[in-house]
Amino acid sequence: MSGGARAFALHGGLIVLLFVLQFVLPAYHHGNLARIMVLASYAVGYNILFGYTGLLSLGHALFFAAGMYGMGLGIQHLGLTPAPALLLGLMAGAAVSGALALLALRTTGVAFMIVTLMFAQAGYLTILYFGEYTRGDEGFVIQQAQRMLWGIDLSDPGSRYFAALILFGSCLMLSLWMVRSPFGKVLVAIRENEERVRMLGYDIFAHKLGAMIISGTIAAAAGASYGLLFGYAGASFASVQYSIFPLLWVLLGGAGTVLGPFIGTLFMFYLIDLSSGVTTAYMLIAGVALVLLTLFAPQGLMGELRRRVWRGLP
């Protein structure tokens, strides 16, 4: 089997496994897994920018929230049905990430992190400021009647799981296809040595811009779906914490691997889920995990796997 066929078999296998799992899992884990798949899509989007292009953004919550509020406000105030509302969320994410990219890509390294952090913070505060429409920290509930997509009730656990699987599957396959395409190869080359790629005549800025818009749009898709599937949009999804989460998931699962974001989200979700039963200070786990990961396993779980077992793992 060639490397490409093996890669598609592995990732397709995961999607089939997730499809089968919905019939055997107990209700609690069934609901969790739907949530994990949506959040993992968010992490997949983050990974394109961080893992493959080497740009560490501390402001992805802005894109997640752009999708969520683009969708939510469209339903709430414009009276849209879910399909155009989702589209509106995606467009909001693409527009916001494009605008931020035009500004932030003028900087590199630490300055890029701080610029993204600052703009995300400004976005979060803006949501609070327009509390009249967004209901601020409290958030708003999207009613069951407003969550009917083509006659399918997305608040029903079965169809919700299925919708999450479709979202996650398409994000995963898009990401796999992208990193194997010439565009994705240039992104990896930029991560490894920007100057050399520039010397070879590639337009660095255009590639980074493309990566950031794709990454932001996937994050927005995850945000919009999260709002639609779980029927809630709130300002806390725009806070710094939600910018840190995808970083954590991707680091844990393995930056620059296609499967890493899902593995990382799965592990971290259950880690926090288990520990929040013991203490309210569950973010402690996140902090400890971040420090330990940067110290001992900067490659993450899938990165270690790639190093030891399968060197061609995409």
Partner: protein, 301 residues
């Protein structure tokens, strides 16, 4: 008038916190996201000392003023030696690691100290009224309106901050340790070649930066209350100050702290505080994009 006095207190505390952040960034090239938590720890330790010592507020407060920076500084040195040193001070990985440290400190405090905000009694708190001239029934008269006044403690905070900042400046420019720090800042490898123990300098600088933040926390705690989430605002404001003042430039940092501290109070009067924060964060982002050397970049080397 009153707004500018309140602004001066914000500026004084902010200058201390931001100088700590700026020192760490300037010498070590490390962006310390956990800086606000050192500030918070200073305040919480001050509460804990004042609470467990009891007696007159002066005793507890003066013990806290010495002990809290030492404890926090020691903690920071330990964090530097166990975490940052092993990352080889790589700028991007240290940011991720300090985010982790932020959550560890914050959540440990939540577990040990609880989610309540707790006050500390100021060591002295005489009320100073500010006279106001008003036209009354008997012509112009001087009155001392209620609410228009300040306390001796608030003035003392400003004084203490000025003294401390002068101390830092003298330390940097007049002592051997300052010379070593500046040498390390200018060229790490060359300093190493001249036999300067760069790693020890880094640990001490990180400790010193954290201690300054903790001092600011102790000073502010009689005015604000100690709370486990109180580190977020000073962190954001210090970032703003350090970036506007020019990364790693001490005089720029102090100047920007005064500017931001004073204007924060005044902007908040005219706009809602949320809008003021939005404008400030946007300003920082744009300054970084278009003038990465900071608004006072000419003053930095």
């Amino acid at each position: 008038m009153l707004a500018s006095l309140e602004g001066a207190i914000t500026a004084a505390v902010l200058a201390l916190t931001a100088v700590g952040l700026s020192l760490v960034f300037g010498v070590m090239r490390v962006v310390n996201i956990a800086h606000g938590e050192f500030f918070m720890l200073g305040a919480v330790i001050a509460w804990w000392i004042a609470h467990s010592l009891g007696g007159h507020p002066v005793i507890g407060f003066s013990v806290a003023l010495v002990a809290a920076p030492l404890v926090v500084g020691a903690l920071a040195v330990a964090a530097d030696m166990t975490i940052l040193k092993r990352l080889n001070y790589d700028p991007e990985r240290t940011i991720v690691a300090t985010i982790g440290v932020l959550y560890i400190i914050q959540q440990m405090t939540l577990m040990g100290y609880g989610p309540d905000a707790r006050p500390v009694e100021p060591p002295f708190n005489t009320r100073l009224a500010i006279p106001w001239v008003e036209h009354g029934a008997e012509g112009w008269a001087m009155i001392w309106p209620w609410g228009l006044g300040t306390t001796s403690y608030k003035l003392a905070v400003i004084g203490a901050a000025v003294v401390l900042l002068c101390g830092v400046w003298i330390l940097m420019s007049r002592t051997r340790f300052g010379l070593v720090m500046r040498a390390t800042q200018a060229d790490r490898d060359m300093a190493l070649a001249f036999g300067i123990p760069v790693e020890r300098v880094y640990a001490l600088v990180f400790g010193l930066g954290a201690a300054l933040a903790a001092l600011a926390g102790v000073l502010i705690v009689p005015i604000q209350q100690a709370h486990y989430l109180m580190g977020a605002d000073p962190l954001l404001l210090s970032f703003i100050v350090v970036i506007i003042g020019g990364l790693g430039s001490l005089p720029g940092t102090v100047l920007a702290a005064v500017l931001i501290g004073m204007s924060d109070g005044i902007i908040s009067v005219f706009f809602s505080p949320t809008l003021a924060k939005i404008l400030a964060t946007l300003l920082v982002g744009l300054v970084l994009v278009f003038r990465p050397q900071g608004l006072f970049g000419a003053q930095s080397e």
